[in-house]
């Protein structure tokens, strides 16, 4: 047998181990590279959206109407260099395409004095005809933009130039969200590295005798080590390719939802992009090599020191304490994540030691000798299975925290939707129809009807500026404007995050405005600040309107101002108009019919509360789909690894179970011991994961979420889910025990 054959014979005898290693590398690569690809793509899109046209401006119509191809022609024929820009969803995958007209865009290049030509090169840019074709085929409206150069000069009457911006400035939020995902990805990578290391070291321990044998046959140690490194490199090479491929498949699968989330939450487009093979391949190879064969690179003396350190509680305690304190004081996402990582590292060092100390303590206390044996055995297991145990604990904590985050979000969102969608029916007024008479008629019809309530909604946008204490106007911002009249029970049910005294009455009188949480956070506006809506009339003194309340407005980036209907700017055409109707005892069909007749016959779009709610929920399901998928897959990974490890561990202890049989325990009794051991281990891990998970929940909700999403959530805990996790851990324990029983039975018959 050749040296290679001799070395590889181990895997011939333990094909499961090889398969587990390969599967773990593959899964880890898939998970991480999938996430890496999505966030990379999104970050790239963000950078491109910001940089390709940094300082760029667009031509807009002075009357506020969206620009069309006619405006393009008018501007071009007036000698203005404008280029059309049409963003559409990529029909072949996640992300978006940007349609441009390179023929029209040529003048942007020659006009660019600074030489900073827009980089409209390659993905995601396509010819605008293709984008227009996609746009025509999708129900979503894709607005056209007309890009002008950096210094376009005067535009013809009826047009003005504005900074090219496809939404509010949410770049920071979007970046934080991506950092969030990246951190999650890094955590997953760390967990899988632990697992990989565990399984690999286990195999190495089993091969130790054959290495000694080979050394005795005169094979130099360094040759063996080189073979081992080669072996793991080869395995990585074989698994990482398919892993990256699966990762990009995963990215494609999740990409659409992810892109929609990004766009919905941050107005951050996800442009179509290619697959980056190199980075994931290199990173994963590095991780695999580090996790598996770093020992061969570390001098024996250091290893001994590390081993000694592993038995002391202090390094873990210090790390966890320092990290925990840091989370409290540091600001900024990256620093918070770093602090969290330190806490995890500390806990990771601590947990196996604590578990085994705990088990030993319990063993010392008992009077039942068999129970003492079980506790002692559990302590040994906790030490010997330290890596997968820590990995399982991390994963459980992560799953718990993410679930709490998602669940508390869902709960908050659900409550918020209840307020927001208080009415049963929503009518969209057709474009061009005058809803005024219909509103008057409705008021008459529903006056005095039991349980009836209604209001008219107008949406648009407005320039809003805050007025300082010195009566000077601060910078103005373009915000969404929501006007509601009358201010009735459908509205006053809203829960306000902060409010002045009797805010709804003041709002109804037109004596103030309310703003959403996004606007409050972004511009630092608080109750009592005075805001001015619209352009100031020259010379006219205006005190502005005080902020009466701040309301939650989940799931979109725009700042919004809520005013009473009477405050709707004169002459401004709403971009959307509708009615919310709670008919009470009145007949909704008759109401719709009557309203329709008031504006001359064109039927309104009627939406039922349920349908809107369903679509809103669908949007939010997508927000966390990636996070959930990642945590669940990691859990599967961790569970599998613990299963494999537990199996091997118990196989190495098989003799002692045989001893128990020799001492007169029946097969059933022996299995019961085994079962209790396995359950003790996994349940112990799960119990220890609880505090870490709760702490992580707090970090996510209290520290990370406001930075990543722009709105905060109340912290909630879900003991029901803890129970589910405990059951899951018990199942993993049962799985190990079940597999063990089979392997013990095999042992007994051989």
């Amino acid at each position: 047998m050749t040296l290679t054959g001799a070395l590889l014979s181990h895997y011939r005898r333990h094909p499961l181990q090889l398969a587990a290693l390969a599967l773990m590398i593959l899964l880890a690569t898939m998970l991480w590279s999938g996430v890496h690809q999505l966030t990379g793509q999104a970050r790239d899109s963000l950078a491109r959206a910001e940089q390709s046209l940094s300082g760029g401006r667009e031509a807009v119509r002075s009357d506020g109407q969206p620009v069309t191809v006619d405006d393009f022609v008018r501007l071009r024929r007036a000698g203005v260099c404008v280029m059309p820009w049409l963003e559409v969803p990529d029909p072949d995958g996640p992300g978006r395409l940007v349609g441009i007209d390179p023929l029209a865009g040529q003048c942007l290049v020659s006009d660019s004095h600074s030489g900073r030509a827009p980089a409209l090169d390659g993905d995601p840019f396509v010819d605008i005809h293709r984008a227009a074709t996609v746009s025509a085929a999708t129900p979503v409206d894709s607005p056209l933009h007309l890009i002008v150069g950096e210094s376009p000069g005067p535009l013809p009457p009826g047009y003005e130039s504005a900074p090219f911006q496809r939404g509010p400035d949410t770049g920071e939020l979007g970046r934080s969200f991506l950092l969030n995902l990246d951190a999650l990805g890094a955590l997953v990578l760390m967990i899988t590295a632990l697992l990989l290391r565990a399984v690999y070291r286990l195999g190495q321990a089993q091969r130790e005798t054959s290495f000694v044998l080979l050394a005795r046959y005169g094979v130099p140690d360094r040759v063996i080590r080189r073979r081992l490194v080669l072996e793991i490199l080869l395995l990585s090479a074989l698994c990482i390719g398919p892993g990256v491929w699966a990762g990009s498949a995963l990215a494609r699968l999740l990409g659409n939802g992810f892109g929609a989330s990004l766009e919905g939450l941050f107005d951050l487009p996800l442009y179509a992009g290619g697959t980056d093979w190199l980075t994931p391949a290199l990173v994963m190879t590095a991780v695999v090599v580090l996790a598996c064969v770093s020992d061969l690179l570390v001098p024996a003396r250091c290893r001994a020191w590390l081993d000694r350190g592993g038995r002391s509680l202090w390094p873990g305690v210090i790390l966890a304490a320092v990290g925990g304190a840091a989370v409290l004081v540091v600001s900024g996402l990256a620093a918070t994540f770093a602090a969290v990582a330190v806490v995890f590292a500390g806990v990771g060092l601590l947990v196996p030691t604590v578990l085994s100390h705990l088990a030993d303590r319990l063993a010392a206390r008992g009077v039942d000798e068999l129970r003492r044996w079980r506790w002692r055995e559990l302590g040994v297991m906790a030490r010997r299975l330290a890596l997968p145990v820590v990995a399982l604990q991390f994963t459980l904590a992560l799953v718990l925290a993410v679930q709490a985050l998602v669940a508390s979000f869902e709960q908050t969102f659900e409550g918020w939707l209840d307020q927001r969608l208080a009415a049963d029916w929503y009518l969209d007024v057709p474009a061009g129809a005058d809803a005024g008479p219909a509103a008057d008629w409705l008021a008459g019809q529903l006056a005095g009807v039991d349980g009836a309530a209604w209001h008219r909604i107008r949406r648009g946008s407005a320039t809003v500026a805050s007025i300082g204490a010195d009566d000077g106007t601060r910078a103005s911002h373009r915000l969404d404007l929501l006007a509601v009249a009358p201010i009735g029970p459908l509205l006053t049910r809203w829960h306000l995050l902060a409010s002045a005294d009797r805010p709804w009455d003041a709002l109804a009188r037109g004596d103030g405005v309310m703003i959403n949480e996004q606007a409050a956070r972004r511009f630092g506006w608080v109750i009592g600040d005075r805001l001015r809506l619209g352009e100031a009339a020259p010379g006219a003194a205006t005190d502005g309107l005080p902020v009466l309340g701040v309301y939650a407005d989940y799931g979109r980036p725009e700042g919004e101002v809520l005013v009473a209907g009477s405050r709707w700017p004169a002459g401004q055409t709403p971009s959307f108009e509708g009615f919310a109707i709670e008919p009470g005892t009145a007949d909704i069909d008759r109401l719709i019919d009557g309203v329709t007749r008031r504006w001359g016959g064109e039927a309104p779009e009627v939406q039922e509360n349920r349908a809107i709610r369903a679509s809103a929920n669908a949007v939010f399901q997508r927000t966390f789909v990636l996070t959930r998928a990642m945590t669940l897959l990691t859990l599967v990974l961790a569970g599998t690894a613990l299963l494999v490890m537990g199996l091997v561990f118990i196989t190495s202890r098989a003799w002692y179970f045989r001893l128990l049989r020799a001492w007169g325990l029946s097969g059933r009794e022996v299995f019961s011991q085994l079962l209790r051991l396995c359950l003790g281990l996994t349940l112990g891990v799960a119990l220890l994961a609880l505090p870490l998970g709760i702490w992580l929940t707090w970090v996510l909700v209290g520290r990370i979420n406001p930075e990543a999403f722009g709105w905060s959530l109340p912290m909630a805990v879900y003991p029901g889910f803890w129970l589910e996790l405990l059951v899951l851990s018990a199942l993993i324990g049962l799985g190990i025990a079940g597999l063990m029983r089979r392997s013990l039975a095999r042992e007994a018959t051989s």
Binding site: E369, L370, G664, L665, S666
Partner: protein
Amino acid sequence: MTERAPVLAAQGLTRAFASGHQTVSVLERLDLSLAAGQSLALIGRSGSGKSTLLNLLCGMDSADAGTITVLGERFEAGDGEPAHVRHRRWAALRRQRIGVVFQDANLMPALTLLQNVRLRAQLAGQPLAPCRDWLERLGLAAEADRYPDQVSGGQRQRAALAMSFAMTPALILADEPTGSLDRHTADEVATLLFDTLARSPAGARGTTGAALILATHDPELAARCDRIMDLGHRASAGRASTDTSS
């Protein structure tokens, strides 16, 4: 030597193992009987069936044919008794009345020597107080609170004997109990074994001390037993006996 009631009687024990396509017969129609307090050495080359026979005699393995009567319990191959019932009966015997000593690894590594002895005694339903005495009697007073990996191989085997005695068995089955020990230590362990066996109490169950079956390669050890059975020469099985007074 006075004749005593047999602790163990086996008739026609047959056991064969599948090896590839062949069936290798290890034991064939073996008869055996052992009286209370008697000791029997099983000798023979490797593979002659010493361990197999011990496994059959403690119920860790089942015979293909034959009958075993041990401590009043009768086991007959192929008599239609459900396997789990048979296993339970054997387990009860091992737990309380049959001590099994292997060549090594008789101790739980996570427990101290004393804890191991206590565990064995507790399983057998014996009082725990004498456990430390048993260790002392086997010269392990100082090592009682050490873990198996902290003591020598001979000390581990002595602890294993202490465990067996602590359960006050009627029968001890020992498979090469000194096989992994050096000559000197092996002698020491053997001496302790036979001394303790001789001075073991008549037993709560009214027997005259534990009977012993010992599988060994060591002629000196075998010579200390009341009888020797050479499984390598089946013809003399059950008959060849050399009494050595103790």
